[in-house]
């Protein structure tokens, strides 16, 4: 197993495990600060994207192969499914993991800018949960309010919910992920490569 360069070695798998732990903790810290508060709950994906950028980039730098990002996605999916997150979140992690792996592989996993784009895609995994919520919203409201659904309210909701919140959430998440990635790039160059811990 360790002799084939392209397949994952035990060391790669262990590295993936350790950096997945870091990734999860870092994204939970950012996400939990915003997600557990009524005013900012919709900005949770932004918080989740804020911290783990450097961990993501260092993982690719240490294991520049097909696999680590997909496995990271699978691990996030398993953990978020087992902790009872809405099913769209695990599914999104699986899909985004594969997409991010493809983007990163386009640069043979060595192109930092493509890796940052891969991270931005991966960070979007937190968004679809809200997406689904907004789409299912109308039918949801109708049973929520039972008789006499307040039309004015629904209008306001549609306006507030669909028109700008979603695009802002997506663009915001991408922007925050980009910044986190930039910071990761800086750390990689300044610290980790110099310290000799990248592959």
């Amino acid at each position: 197993m360790s002799n084939q360069k392209s397949s994952l070695t035990v060391k790669d798998l262990v590295t993936i495990g350790i950096f997945s732990a870091l990734f999860l903790i870092l994204s939970l810290i950012g996400g939990a600060v915003l997600g557990s508060n009524p005013v900012t709950t919709f900005w949770m994906p932004l918080g989740g994207a804020l911290l783990p950028g450097p961990a993501f980039l260092l993982l690719i730098a240490k294991v520049p192969k097909h696999g680590p990002i997909i496995i990271l996605g699978i691990i996030c999916a398993i953990i978020y499914f087992a902790t009872g997150m809405h099913w769209t979140m695990p599914v999104a992690y699986l899909v985004c993991g594969v997409l991010a792996d493809l983007v990163s592989s386009a640069g043979k996993f060595k192109n930092v800018w493509l890796n940052i784009v891969a991270y931005m895609i991966f960070a979007l995994s937190l968004v679809p949960t809200y997406f689904m919520f907004f789409f299912a919203r109308e039918s949801y409201m109708s049973y929520m309010l039972q008789k006499g659904t307040d039309q004015e309210y629904l209008d306001a909701m549609v306006k507030a919910g669909q028109d700008w919140v979603l695009p802002v959430m997506i663009i915001g998440t991408l922007a925050v992920a980009f910044l986190s990635g930039l910071f990761g790039k800086k750390l990689l160059k300044k610290q980790f490569e110099k310290a000799g811990i990248t592959a």
């Binding site: 360790s2 060391k11 300044k190 610290q191 110099k194 310290a195 000799g196 811990i197």
Partner: protein, 489 residues
């Protein structure tokens, strides 16, 4: 059983730890010690035997290593694993699972043993190693010594014929080292072949059959145990070897001329959660004091030192510095702790920047002067992470000097250090003391204590059991703490 023929190896990338023309034969049932300075290549030799070279560490390898008829370079790692068990230095990084039972079974699971056989073997293993009390525990909550025993058990359970141990005592306390010795004797009684690389030698008396001294990647001398343990002190020191018999190491620091106390601790109670970890601690210290802090595992030494530095909030006592009351925040300003794993304390990308990191108006001249004094000038542009353990430690100390810290706590400064590095740390500590700083040394290292400290604080049973000046009279108290007159006599 193990035969190493004409082996040369150098790691790709670095010149560290390379070996030249190694020839070594170890018959079945023998226990062989590899000793020598840090970086001499003894760890490299252990890696030849357990297959980590060439599978895990890349480099240039020539010559042949045969273990129990297998040519290591041509045998897959998992087959070697069935014959050769390995125990490493760092207890924190050796386990794979979250609970002890899965960990002990880990190797057997890999070998695909059937359930019944595994359960039987777990029972035997825990009984032999005397860790029945550790079954079904969360490994993260075990002490370093307990983790090391579980790692040992996991290897032992696989019933390999050969055991390779790479500095297994490095981060163990006195009691755990004693247990390690018992485990080695158990292996010997079972006819296992043992290859052990170590800095601490005293506990191997009566265990090893041969000692191999390595210098600069070459085997210099092979000793019989009698020869090794009767080496005259000057020859041993010249070879950079640690003490062979602790009881002969007598206190070398003769008191502190300065008797005027500048640091006072009054009626200190330290809490850990709801439990009182230490009760009613009072003592004073003078400038230039080098105070050894000893105590068994869980006696609260580390929390005590964190409290001194102002890092642990939950306490009720009072602290005086130059007769003025100082609270936690004020103590943080003049206290500093050099941690056991100094890597956590280094943040910058070069040694030079590290020395001034976080200081508002750094004194560049002082910084350069200090780095020079501590022998770090050649490494100014290196990344701190690429330094050796001893160098990292000196860098952390340099930082404390540049920040003008007056009270320093060292937490296990000698774990994993060879004789030369230990002496360097000791000299450094004495130099800091001569500059009028107050020093606390938390350690399990008897040799280092006698070499460095002039006073001992002994914590146990949630209190300060004893506080004494260390001299040739009081040293017997240390003997009884380290049980030197018992097992090793």
């Amino acid at each position: 059983m193990i035969s190493i023929k004409n082996v040369n190896f150098s790691y790709s990338g670095t010149g560290q730890g390379k070996i030249e023309n190694i020839n070594l034969d170890i018959p079945k049932g023998n226990c062989v010690l590899l000793c020598g300075r840090s970086g001499c290549g003894k760890t490299t030799i252990t890696r030849l035997v357990n297959g980590l070279i060439p599978y895990f560490y890349e480099g240039n390898l020539s010559g042949t290593v045969t273990v129990d008829g297998m040519n290591i370079a041509e045998t897959p790692m998992y087959k070697i694993a069935e014959k050769v068990g390995s125990v490493f230095q760092n207890p924190r990084s050796q386990f794979f699972n979250t609970d002890t039972d899965s960990e002990i079974a880990f190797g057997m699971e890999n070998m695909a043993w059937p359930l019944k056989k595994m359960l039987g073997r777990i029972k035997e293993t825990t009984k032999d190693i005397n860790i029945e009390n550790l079954c079904e525990r969360n490994i993260a909550q075990l002490s370093g010594g307990e983790k090391q025993k579980v790692a040992f058990a996991s290897v032992y359970a696989m019933t390999p014929d050969i055991f390779v141990l790479d500095e297994p005592s490095s981060s163990l306390d006195v009691d755990a080292i004693q247990e390690l010795r018992n485990l080695l004797l158990l292996l010997k009684n079972n006819g296992k072949t043992i290859l052990i690389s170590e800095h601490r030698l005293y506990f191997l008396k009566g265990v090893i059959d041969k000692a191999v001294y390595i210098e600069g990647g070459k085997i210099q001398v092979e000793y019989t145990p009698e020869e090794l343990f009767s080496l005259p002190d000057d020859e041993r020191i010249e070879k950079g070897l640690r003490s062979l018999d602790l009881i002969h190491e007598l206190p070398s620091v003769l008191g502190n001329k300065n008797e005027k106390s500048c640091f006072q601790v009054n009626r200190e109670n330290i809490m850990w959660g709801k439990e009182e970890l230490l009760k009613n601690i009072s003592f004073t210290a003078a400038k230039g004091d080098i105070i050894g802090v000893i105590g068994h595992n869980g006696s609260g030494k580390t929390t005590f030192s964190r409290t001194i530095c102002g890092l642990h909030k939950y306490h009720t006592g009072e602290y005086l510095w130059n007769n003025k009351k100082v609270d936690d925040k004020q103590r943080l300003k003049f206290c500093y702790m050099v941690m056991q794993n100094v890597s956590y304390q280094l943040f910058s990308d070069t040694v030079e920047k590290e020395s001034c990191f976080g200081i508002k108006n750094p004194d560049k001249d002082l910084a350069n002067q200090t780095l020079k004094e501590l022998g770090l000038s050649p490494y100014l542009t290196r990344h701190p992470n690429t330094l050796s353990g001893g160098q990292k430690q000196r860098l952390a100390v340099a930082v404390s000097m540049i920040c003008h810290k007056d009270l320093l706590v060292f937490d296990e400064p000698t774990s994993g250090l060879d004789f030369d590095s230990m002496c360097q740390v000791s000299d450094l500590v004495k130099k800091l003391a001569a500059q009028g700083k107050v020093l606390f040394i938390v350690t399990h290292d008897y040799e280092f204590l006698t070499l460095t400290c002039n006073r001992i604080l002994h914590f146990d049973d949630a209190q300060l059991v004893e506080d004494y000046k260390l001299d040739s009279e009081s040293v017997h108290k240390l003997w009884s703490f380290f049980d030197l007159e018992g097992v090793y006599k």
